[in-house]
């Protein structure tokens, strides 16, 4: 069984999740379902994966397509059992007669009729078990959740360490809990990166100085805590699966959670704002300024006012002229 999708993933697990959904509706083992993506030559029209929409749109499209095929299967089985299609149900992986499950056909047997033996098909029915379906939702889905983090700020060096993370998200009925956790872990790590590490920096001469992953500080496993995740499951009214996206939940929640935690830790010093990323340098500069020393983080914007080697950049002035850009 093959599912073609235009919601091309780059590691989110569509191959697993879409296979589960389709297999459920056709009574087969998910392992026999191959999900093909990333080839506009073979797949249907699709806009890719973005906006936490793959399951809620691509997944729902696959669901509806599978349901249409299942409905066709029931008609074929009904024809062969001389029964009413309404009395055919999926039972233990077979399309069986309600009340007499010994009578029934497997999907493979149904496919045998649909592709090889037209005489066993209902009169006038198109051969084959294929369905292409384009799905346009009537409304967006609205996942929600709460993330709480604990950080430690080294008051001497300004370094921030994330020590605990608790996340409860609601993306509707869980198709695959492990994939959901993986999405949350990756999203939170992305958010931690934005809050504490990642930055594209050009020097005063316009040279990119964060051109490799040695300089553009993507967080690694060492920089993130063990995530404690849980979920509630509230169905979305927007689609038949009731599912909502989870891909960006962590990304959106993590960044403000960390920044708010750091500011909470520093509020007694009189600090209420620091630009992201909250690098050790910036946090230290904010602490120094709050203690009446130095010019604060903006006076030495990283990279922007890099002085020649050995020259002290303190006092080089704000990168944004006072009084604004008038």
């Amino acid at each position: 069984m093959t599912v073609f999708t235009g919601a091309s993933p780059h590691g989110q697990g569509h191959e697993t999740g879409f296979a589960q959904i389709v297999a459920d509706r056709l009574g087969v083992d998910p392992n026999i379902v191959e999900v093909v993506h990333g080839d506009t030559g073979t797949g249907p029209m699709g806009l890719g994966t973005y906006g936490s929409r793959s399951l809620a749109i691509g997944g729902v499209a696959a669901t509806h397509a599978a349901e249409k095929i299942a409905s066709k299967c029931r008609e074929i089985v009904a024809r062969n059992l001389e029964a009413d299609p309404g009395d055919i149900e999926l039972h233990n992986g077979r399309f069986s007669l309600r009340g007499d499950p010994e009578q029934g056909m497997t999907l493979a047997e149904v496919a045998g009729c649909a592709y090889i033996d037209a005489t066993k098909m209902p009169e006038g029915m198109e051969l084959g078990l294929e369905q292409t379906l384009i799905y346009d939702p009537t409304n967006f889905v609205f996942p929600f959740g709460t993330h709480v983090c604990v950080v430690e700020v080294d008051a001497e060096t300004g370094k921030v360490t994330v020590v605990r993370w608790v996340a409860v998200d609601d993306c509707g009925p869980a198709v695959n809990p492990m994939l959901i956790d993986g999405q949350v872990h990756g999203g939170v790590t992305h958010g931690i990166g934005q809050a504490l590490y990642e930055q594209v920096v050009y020097d005063a001469r316009g040279q990119l100085v964060t051109g490799t992953f040695m300089d553009y500080a993507l967080p690694t496993a060492n920089e993130v805590p063990n995530f404690e995740t849980d979920r509630t499951e509230t169905k979305s009214p927007s689609n038949s699966l009731g599912v909502k996206g989870i891909g960006e939940a962590g990304t959106i929640a993590a960044t403000p959670a960390i920044v708010n935690a750091v500011i909470d830790a520093l509020r007694h010093e009189g600090i209420s704002f620091i630009d992201m990323p909250l690098t050790p340098l910036r946090v230290w500069q904010a602490l120094e300024e709050a203690r009446g020393r130095g010019h604060g983080p903006r006076a030495t914007e990283q990279g922007v006012s890099l002085p020649p080697q050995g020259e002290d950049s303190a006092g080089s002035g704000p990168t944004v002229p006072e009084g604004g850009a008038s």
Binding site: E156, T157, K159, Y197, V201, V209, T210, T212, M214, D215, A217, P219, T220, N222, E223, T279, P280, L281, W284, Q285, G294, T300, Q302, G303, L306, P307, Q309, G310, E311, D312, S313, A314
Partner: protein, 280 residues
């Protein structure tokens, strides 16, 4: 991210390597673990005409333990040192070099010969008052750590010479501490401080402090050492010595730090490294 074209030869002995380097001329470079040189080549900051690979020189890998010293083969990997807790400070520093993948390939000889002031081992060698042995067409010579690091990525090892051995004293009776400050655990040190302390009773008999990335070469925090030597090892004296840790340094500004911030970090980390060394 693709290196310029170069020739490649595998040396089968140290003499073979010396001969290959001689034949290769001024732009020939020895290749040890390759975890400094190869990234530089991929960024085209370095473009050697010939790499002489030392990977097969098994005689250069391993540690010989003497009565009061260690002789470390130049091709000994960081991963070999990070498990040698009996070697004290150098093992503590090796544990914190980059990540395990780098430690599995990077070598002590390569790191020291590269002479990067941001690398972990140069300041450690300096604090230990160790030395390196180099060999070239004119024979073998020993260079004290204090004479090894001459400038930014520049050492007193002559072209055509190969670093073969690292010698460090065991320094029995010394406690040690190593404080490396960076944004991510795999990054270069923004500032690193290693401290060695020998005490008699509660008095400091000897102290050595090495500074990473506080100048274009590794440095000793001599003013801090002088302030603590012979003094009681209490909080006040440690703090007073640590306050002098950045004296005489010339820290370069970089993406993550201003010179002021680096001086501040050197003082904070010196206090912490000394405290760890004394508690040990």
């Amino acid at each position: 991210m693709i290196a310029a074209e170069f020739d490649y030869a595998v040396a089968e002995s140290v003499d073979d390597a010396i001969r290959l380097l001689e034949e290769g001329g001024a732009d020939a470079k020895p290749l040890a673990g390759g975890h400094s040189l190869l990234p530089l080549m991929k960024l085209r900051f370095a473009a050697p005409s010939l790499l002489v690979d030392l990977r097969n020189l098994s005689e250069l890998r391993g540690v010989q333990t003497g009565d009061d010293s260690f002789r470390i083969g130049a091709m000994t990997r960081h991963a070999d040192l990070q498990v040698r807790d009996d070697m004290g400070l150098i093992a503590a520093a090796a544990k914190q070099i980059a990540d395990q993948q780098v430690r599995n390939r990077g070598t002590i000889g390569g790191s020291l010969a590269n002479g990067d002031a941001a690398a972990d081992l140069p300041a450690v060698l300096l604090a230990l008052d160790g030395s390196v042995v180099v060999r070239g067409l004119n024979g073998e010579r020993e260079i004290a750590a204090a004479d090894l690091f001459e400038g930014y990525l520049t050492t007193s090892i002559a072209p055509g010479e190969i670093l073969t051995e690292v010698r460090i004293p065991a320094l029995a009776g010394y406690g040690y501490g190593y404080e490396k400050f960076n944004r991510r655990s795999e990054d270069w040190a923004m500032v690193g401080v290693c401290a060695l302390v020998k005490s008699t009773g509660a008095v400091c008999e000897d102290v050595r402090i090495g500074l990473t990335h506080m100048a274009s070469t590794p440095r000793r925090a001599s003013a801090a050492e002088d302030a603590l030597r012979g003094q009681p090892l209490d909080d006040d004296h440690i703090a007073a010595a640590a306050a002098l840790a950045a004296e005489g340094t010339d820290p370069p500004a970089d993406l993550n730090a201003t010179p002021d911030y680096k001086r501040h970090l050197a003082r904070v980390l010196t206090k912490r490294a000394l405290t760890t060394a004394i508690a040990a």
